[in-house]
């Protein structure tokens, strides 16, 4: 069964700061995310969601416990290996889109391919293709400022997908969008981004999109307090 796991965290502890200013953001988190699964991470503000996906995505080092992504533990990788692993295996979607403002939509989407060593022109061509698939065919050459929030998030999703990563992490992908646009973005994520060999971990506090989840992990005060198979199962 463990071969089926995209993410496997056991007793993950993360503390920010030192001495008096110490904040224990993760207090022993256990979490499993299966391949092909859309896992939502929910919970009140400050409970450690962002910290947890940062650890899972390999952009933040945790202090104790183990966190494996497809059997690889970031703590056992060198800095270089970690960067390389992220480049190949992780896709990112942010609340604030975080597109590079000077690049066109296609150029933005092409960035992960270029990071992985593809020639620019080929990467941009592929990016334009993918933008077509997310309904952004005529915005290929637009700059981020020329796009609406929903359109920017589509571009960001294409960017998270383009290099075919095995794990996509999204932090509050819909909270900057109105309800309808957020809904469409989630539909897109679920239909295009999810796949048999790919897992999605989405942090959100937007209960209206809980229905898109395969499973929902509820966090509170640095712990996972419940993993539910549907919104109805969640205790309030």
């Amino acid at each position: 069964m463990s071969g089926e796991l995209a993410v496997s965290c056991t007793k993950v502890v993360k503390t920010y700061g030192t001495d008096d200013a110490k904040v224990m953001a993760l207090r022993g988190v256990d979490l499993e995310v299966r391949k092909g699964e859309l896992m939502m991470l929910v919970g009140p503000s400050g409970c450690g969601k962002t910290t947890l996906i940062s650890v899972i995505a390999g952009i933040l080092d945790h202090d104790e416990g183990s966190c494996k992504v497809y059997e690889r533990d970031f703590q056992h990788m060198s800095g270089r290996e970690k960067v390389r692993y992220r480049a190949e295996n992780i896709g990112f979607v942010f609340q604030a889109y975080n597109l590079l403002p000077a690049l066109t939509a296609a150029e933005n989407v092409a960035v992960p391919l270029i990071i992985n060593g593809m020639r620019r022109q080929e990467a941009v061509d592929r990016a334009a293709d993918l933008l077509g698939k997310v309904g952004m065919k005529d915005k290929v050459n637009s700059l981020p400022v020329q796009l609406s929030g929903g359109q920017q998030q589509r571009v960001a999703i294409a960017r998270a997908l383009i290099h075919n990563p095995r794990l996509i992490v999204c932090d509050e992908p819909t909270s900057a969008l109105d309800h309808e646009t957020g809904h469409k973005v989630m539909e897109l994520l679920k239909s295009v981004a999810l796949g048999d060999n790919r897992a999605l971990v989405i942090v959100t506090h937007d209960s209206r999109i809980f229905g898109f989840a395969d499973r929902i992990a509820k966090m509170d005060d640095g712990h996972i307090v419940q993993v539910a198979n549907s919104p109805d199962e969640m205790e309030h």
Partner: protein, 384 residues
Amino acid sequence: MYYTALKMLMGDKSKYLGIVMGLTFASFIMTQQPAIFVGLMARTFSFMTDLSQPDVWAMDPKVQYIDDIKPIQDTELYRVRGVEGVDWAMPLYKGLLKARLENGNFQTCNVIGLDDATLIGGPPIMLEGKLEDLRKSDAVIVDIEGAAGKLARTLPNGKRVALKTGDTLELNDKRAIVVGIARTTRTFQSQPVVYTTYTRAIKYAPRERKLLSFILVKAKPGEDLPALTKRITERTGLAAYTREQFQQVTMNYYLKYTGIPINFGTAVILGFIIGAAIAGQTFYNFTLDNLKQFGVLKAMGTTNGTLLKMILLQALTVGSIGYGLGVGAASFFGYMIRDSVLAFMLPWQLLVLSGVAVTLICIFAALISIRKVMKLEPAIVFKG
């Protein structure tokens, strides 16, 4: 990623322009000021540059620079001619004499007396008349700057007309007729230059026991010049310098005894510091503004090495553009003032130096930014 780096750089127009302008300013100051300095320094010995025939200059040992006239006796000329290895040796008179203008005013002139027979040491370019015309009685040749400037006549209606051939002057109460107008390279002295023969020059000059200013020496072909200067000094007790040595001696005097190098050095260093400060600050601000973008690239798997190269590329790009504009502006400045009293000389060594200085500024600007980006936690990408 280099394309991305350049796009990032130029995407923020106002910062981009700010950085380029800072570097343009620095390049301009660091090129223009030393160019004026070099121009001025070259002017200190331009009289020698114009006077290209002699290999060696002999003079009183106490002479410190070209305009420091310490006359020697005429007989020294024959002694120098007797030194082996000397092909020829000619007298040169150089001195400041008062010219009386038509309106009764006096003007000090830099009078040059040339060997009567050969006229060696004459002006490099004749604009009117011929050098040989100096052999006519009372003949003098005046430089164009002086003729059109300080020696110009004022008509009754207030208009000024340049001195021209056929006009007369009085040098120390003795008549001089202008037979030619010459162009000379501007020197450190601002007086009009008046050429005449040696014999006539010492007639114009106040009566003194010693009148010979310099002895101009041509070495025999194949003669070792430093050895020749040594021999002249040994035999005659005069100081003897090759042309380059005398230029150097003259320039050193100005470097040592005038505030000129300090003034220009200060301007250059200020230009460097201000340029570095402006460029460094704006570039650093640019990096800070884009820190989130660098963070996103880092999270997505861009290595520190690549980020470093991206930032260096950005810095060197603005550096090249700023350098190009600054040097262009400095050259344009030099072109605009080419006929004015300002000096300007832009040898390639100077371009290399200011180029190196600008590169240093850019690397400095890049380094402080790179430090910031290297230490950047990619986890900031998930922060608000």
